[in-house]
Structures are given as structure tokens and as C-alpha cells.
């Protein structure tokens, strides 16, 4: 056994990935391939999905039904389709990957939004025989709206087009053109065959014309650095910590996960929306008090003045706050069964705050084929558009482009309690 280095494991970076694709473009096979090649699947799990039930060992990925490895629900295996987002975990010596595997079925676009919202990078599957489809465009548009920094286009099933470079180049050009309109910054196209494994983790012998990295090399080397700590300090308050025990009778701490920026002991703090100010007394954690904390740490902050702070309030640095407003406009992905309509009332959950909201205007609905902004009086399930809301109370928010945590919200139907929409503030 090679020597195990505990120090090196501390350098392992976390990369959150999402894979999306249309029906039958080989997504489950690709994920199965990644799990097998990185040893993210165990032998007994592989044995359970082997093609020849009498084989007593599995020695190559070709011997197993890769899709069976990932389709977790009985209905999925029966119908041969993926219904729900599944989360997969695999690691290389450099990185741990959390991969949300999203179904390609049109009616399940809501699951794709679920899987994509926290991702740093996305893999979009395209069948080399079919090229860029309407579904591909819809998915790419949603990934763009959700602000995924890196898009990897996996041009799959190259073995079925004789590994033809021209077929790959056509898809690459089409995607480049579509992505340019979306403002996607980092686009990488890789030709591959998930079935044979070419260009997934090994290069293979069939596509010497391709000079770029394999998929796994790309995943291992792409930048995961964010500038979260350089943004203004924001901490949505989750709870008050008031132990009221004999040794801590008057303790009042504010618990939360830092959404962005850094905070130090002594910093001048303003509480929104009340506008009250104080300074940071302590940054408390179970492992000892900190002098400085940064996103995305979960901490408890105590202040030097006894001011009113409650759940839903936001702590920030004095001088770095914008004004609160009782209105907002956002790009909305609608995922409810009933359409969003003008003057409908909903509950918006923004960070740790729940407030009542009314649709004041549907500014436009996006045609995902042409990206045209069409006039609309409703947004139906799976539609995307720009919506303005009137809020019952003032809210402090940021633009989604500036801050994925304080610029996002979910829309809840107050009658069914279901999550019916995802909003990204503009």
C-alpha cells in the first residue's frame, strides 16, 4: 500500500458539478463510467448491475449495465429513464466531486433547476448524431441564468459517427454561438464515448485529432476559486442564541452562515432592515472564538450593544449596505403546476426571511429557441421570464450576478406549501 498522507487530504478541493442532458444521450452511462474509472463505485455495487448474472467478477466497465448503477428508483429502472435528481460522489487525489445527476425529460426541468443551483460547473451531454437540440438550449439557458461559472459540453457517442471531427466541430460551433448570447464565459467542448471510455478518463486511439484534455483532466484542473471572501460582508441571521443558563444568563448571540465577505472582531455592523448599528464583540464557535470569519463559515456573532436582531435580519458592514425596498425584479424559473399570473400572491423565501409578495408585472417570457423576450400574461410550468414583485415588507437583497446567496429566492405557494418558483434578482 502506498503511504497515506493525512496532510495532503486537507488540500482536497470540493467541486460541485451538475450533469444535464436530453433523453437517451448517454448521461447515465457517462456517470457510471466516471464512477467506475475513479473507483467511486464499490465492487459489490458493480456486481449487482453486471450484465451476465453468472459472472463472478467484474473486470471492465463494458461488463456492467452502467445506467442501472445510477438509476436508483424502481420506476426509473422499469421505464429506463431517470426521473429525479440523484447525487453522486467520487474523488480523485486532488478533488472531491459532488455531482447532481439531472434528468433530461422536459416535464422534469424543475429537478434540473434543483440540481444546478449550487453547482460550480456543469456538464451538458450532447448526442453527436443529433447535435444541439431544443432541450440542450433550454438547459444551457437555465445554467446561464443560474450563473454556473464553467460549462463543459460532452459531445458523446462519437463512436456512432465514426469519430468524425467535423461532426464535433459543428456542435462546438453551434454551442459557442448559443452560449455567446447567454454571456457564458467559460465553455469547453470535449468529444467522447462514454460507452467505450474514450476521452472520459483515458484518451483512447480513436480521436487523435482532438488535442484538449480528457473530461477527468478538465474536472481536476478547472479553477474552483471563487471571490466570495472579497465581496461585501453579508450574514443572514438564522437564530438567536440565548442559553439563559446559570453561567450565561445574559448571553445573546446571532447565529448564521456567512453568505459573503469577511468579518472581524471590532467591525462596525449594521443590521438590516432596522438600520441599527453596533460593533462585533466576539465571533463564537465550538472550537474557540475567532478573530476573523469568512464565507461560507457557520458562526455565532455577539455585539457590544443590546440591539434588536431577529431571524430574517441581515448583518453587514456599515457603509456597504444598499437601501431596502418593497419591490424587486427577478428572472424566474417557474416550476409550479399552476401558472404564475399577474396579481397572484405568494410567499418569497429569501435567505432566512419569509415575506408575502404579489406579482406586479410579468415583464416578459423568454423564448428559449430564439431568446426573444415575448409579452406574456402568465408563466406556465418550465417557463422562464422576468417578473416584478411587490413586497409586504422592506427587504435587503443583492443582485444574483453579485451574490448567489443574497440574490436568490424561492417562491412558495401559500396554499399548497409547495416550492413553485426560483428567482434570481436582477
Amino acid at each position: 500500500m502506498t503511504e497515506f498522507n493525512f496532510e495532503l487530504t486537507k488540500e482536497i478541493e470540493l467541486l460541485r458539478l451538475v450533469t444535464v442532458g436530453s433523453v437517451d444521450d448517454g448521461k447515465s452511462t457517462l456517470i457510471g463510467r466516471l464512477l467506475v474509472d475513479t473507483k467511486g463505485a464499490f465492487e459489490d455495487q458493480l456486481m449487482a448491475v453486471r450484465k451476465k448474472k453468472r459472472a463472478d467478477k467484474v473486470s471492465s466497465a463494458a461488463e456492467i449495465d452502467l445506467a442501472m448503477l445510477t438509476d436508483g428508483l424502481a420506476a426509473e429502472r422499469e421505464q429506463g429513464i431517470t426521473i429525479d435528481v440523484a447525487y453522486r460522489y467520487f474523488a480523485t487525489p486532488k478533488r472531491k466531486f459532488i455531482m447532481a445527476d439531472c434528468p433530461g425529460h422536459e416535464q422534469y426541468t424543475r429537478n434540473m433547476v434543483t440540481g444546478s443551483s449550487t453547482a460550480n460547473a456543469a456538464i451538458i451531454l450532447i448526442d453527436a448524431r443529433h447535435g444541439v437540440l431544443a432541450q440542450t438550449k433550454r438547459h444551457t439557458h437555465i445554467l446561464g441564468l443560474l450563473g454556473i461559472p464553467h460549462l463543459i459540453v460532452a459531445v458523446n457517442k462519437m463512436d456512432l459517427v465514426d469519430h468524425d471531427e467535423a461532426a464535433y466541430e459543428k456542435i462546438k460551433a453551434d454551442m459557442a454561438e448559443y452560449c455567446a448570447k447567454q454571456g457564458v464565459k467559460d465553455l469547453i467542448c470535449i468529444p467522447m464515448s462514454a460507452l467505450t471510455g474514450d476521452m472520459v478518463s483515458v484518451r483512447g486511439d480513436n480521436m487523435d485529432w482532438y488535442k484538449g484534455d480528457t473530461l477527468l483532466e478538465t474536472l481536476e484542473s478547472m479553477s474552483v476559486l471563487d471571490d466570495l471572501d472579497e465581496k461585501p460582508f453579508r450574514m443572514p441571521v438564522q437564530l438567536l442564541n440565548r442559553p439563559q443558563t446559570a453561567d450565561l444568563p445574559d448571553y445573546r448571540g446571532f447565529m448564521g452562515t456567512i453568505a459573503s465577505g469577511t468579518v472581524k472582531v471590532g467591525d462596525e455592523i449594521v443590521v438590516k432592515p432596522s438600520g441599527k448599528t453596533s460593533t462585533v464583540k466576539e465571533i463564537v464557535t465550538f472550537d474557540g472564538n475567532l478573530q476573523e470569519a469568512f464565507a461560507p463559515q457557520s458562526v455565532t456573532i455577539t455585539l457590544n450593544d443590546e440591539i434588536d436582531v431577529s431571524r430574517g435580519d441581515m448583518l453587514m458592514h456599515a457603509g456597504q449596505e444598499d437601501s431596502d425596498t418593497k419591490a424587486l425584479t427577478a428572472n424566474v424559473c417557474w416550476i409550479g403546476d399552476e401558472p404564475l399570473e399577474n396579481r397572484n400572491k405568494y410567499i418569497i423565501k429569501h435567505a432566512t426571511n419569509q415575506i408575502k409578495a404579489m406579482v406586479s408585472d410579468i415583464n416578459f417570457k423568454t423564448d428559449i429557441h430564439t431568446l426573444a423576450q415575448d409579452e406574456a400574461d402568465e408563466l406556465a410550468m418550465n417557463e422562464i421570464g422576468s417578473v416584478s414583485f411587490k413586497l409586504q415588507q422592506p427587504l435587503h437583497y443583492d443582485k444574483y450576478a453579485d451574490n448567489r446567496t443574497t440574490g436568490s429566492f424561492i417562491i412558495i405557494d401559500s396554499f399548497t406549501n409547495n416550492t413553485v418558483g426560483a428567482g434570481m434578482i436582477v
Binding site: 500500500m1 482536497i12 428508483l73 460522489y89 443551483s117 442559553p243 452562515t257 472550537d287 469568512f294 436568490s408
Partner: protein, 302 residues
Amino acid sequence: MSEHKLTQLKALEAESIHIIREVVAEFRNPVMLYSVGKDSSVLVHLARKAFYPAPLPFSLLHVDTGFKFKEMYDFRDAFCEEIGADLIVRRNESAIEKGMNPKEFGVARCCGALKTTGLLDALEEGGYDAAFGGARRDEERSRAKERVFSMRDEFGQWDPKNQRPELWNIYNGRIHDGESVRVFPISNWTEMDIWSYIREEEIPIVPLYFAKERPMIERGNMLIPYYEENKGQLLEGEEPKMIMSRFRTLGCSPCTGAVRSDASNMDEIVIEAAAARRSERETRIIDHGSNSMEDKKKEGYF
């Protein structure tokens, strides 16, 4: 690496603490399921971190089958006492009185009565609207599809085809009367993460996880722990042997196997986990069969 960067374990820790706090903020009466295993140890540790310096704002609930290893009961009582946790133990007494056991009634019926029914009864009795569990998505393929907030209807049942979308780190905790949620704060942790975190944080775990010479029955690939009290388990021709072994997961003694191992401390366990080629659930009899975990989950099992 920038100085403002969390290790991946610390990033997972921050995410889990966020989830635990959201539940306490939004639910009336949460409870934390405590199974005494390693994942429970991590979950309780995260909860203590979340509310420090205040004590845990909810009870720990152990749904006991009466079939746990003696070492687990000893550990449970000492651990809860040490951290000052309020421990509630509930058992399906009527099934236990009738002599429910996996050998005579089958594993599925035994689990259904002692675990699922025991759990649903305990949740109803306590009137809990949220129950934390230590399930991880990497454990089993139907668990890979579970949300962090998993909605349950009035009968405690899961509808995998109709789950709420879950976006960013915003969790929708709104439910109707009678409904409840199961919450899985360590969804994104892998077995390797759990062991590494236990090692780094020096979290106490049941001694059965550490290798030592133990009396075992060898049956096929399985190592079945042997106790004086369950001599009856021996099949024709079997004889207990002292074998250097440990447990990767802990469940009920008749249905949990051990593995051959020399890993007797946390460093060695982490190294062993990193090299493992077979899944930890393999030593749990309940998971075998094509849809067994999914069916049990729909019925209300964790």
C-alpha cells in the same frame, strides 16, 4: 490556497450546521434520531457545534429494537450522559413481546415492525414535526435521490416521484398539520468523509468499530458476531472462532456482519476506508434484494 478557504470537511461541516439551525428556526418540535452508530456520532457532534454555547435545543430519540450490541447500549448511555443530552428510548413493545425476530419472521417483517413501526409510533407519540436523521446519499442508490428536507405525509410515507425542488441553501420548511419532514444534514458526506472527520475532531464512537480479536461465526463471506446468549444461531458444523475483526456499520446484532481488519485506531480506519473496494452496506442484511431500501423508505423507514 487562499487564507480564506475552508478544507472540504470544514465546508461540509458549515453546510450541515446551516441545515440543523434552519430546522430549529422553522419547526415547532424537532427531534434528532440517534442510532448510536458513527453517522449519529457525527450528527450529534455537528448539532452541538451548531448551538454552542447553548445546550442542544432538542432531544435525541433512539428507536431501539432490543437487538443492538451490548457495547452500543453501554456507549449510548455513557455518551448521552457525558454531553448532557436528553435521550428518549422507544421500542415497539408489543412486537418485542410477541417475540419478533429476523430468523423466524424474516428480515423484512422484523425491520418493518421493530424499526419502521417503532419509529412511526415514536414520532407520532412525541408529536414531532421534524426528525433529523444521519442518512447519507452515498450509502445506497435510492438514498441518492433523497432531498435534504424530505417531506412525509400524515402516514410518515415518502413519495419519491413527487419531491419538492430544493434550491441553493434555501429550504422550504412549510408543512400542513399532520405532515412532517425528515431532515438529512449529512446528505453530502461520504463514508470517507465521516471517518476522516471523526479522526480530525476526535469524536467518540462505539468500540466495535475498532479491530480486535472477537468470537465470530464464519458463514460464506460473512463474519457473524458470536455471543453466549445466541448460541442458537450456529448452523450445523459451524463453530465460533476468534478472528481479528471490526464493524464498518452497526445495526442489529443478528443482521450485521463484521469484516476482517487490523485497523485498531482512527488513522488505520481512515487508511482502510480509503482503500475499501466494497461498500459498507454489504455487511447489512436488510439492504439486499432489488428495491428493498426504496420500499422500506416509502413505508417510513429512514
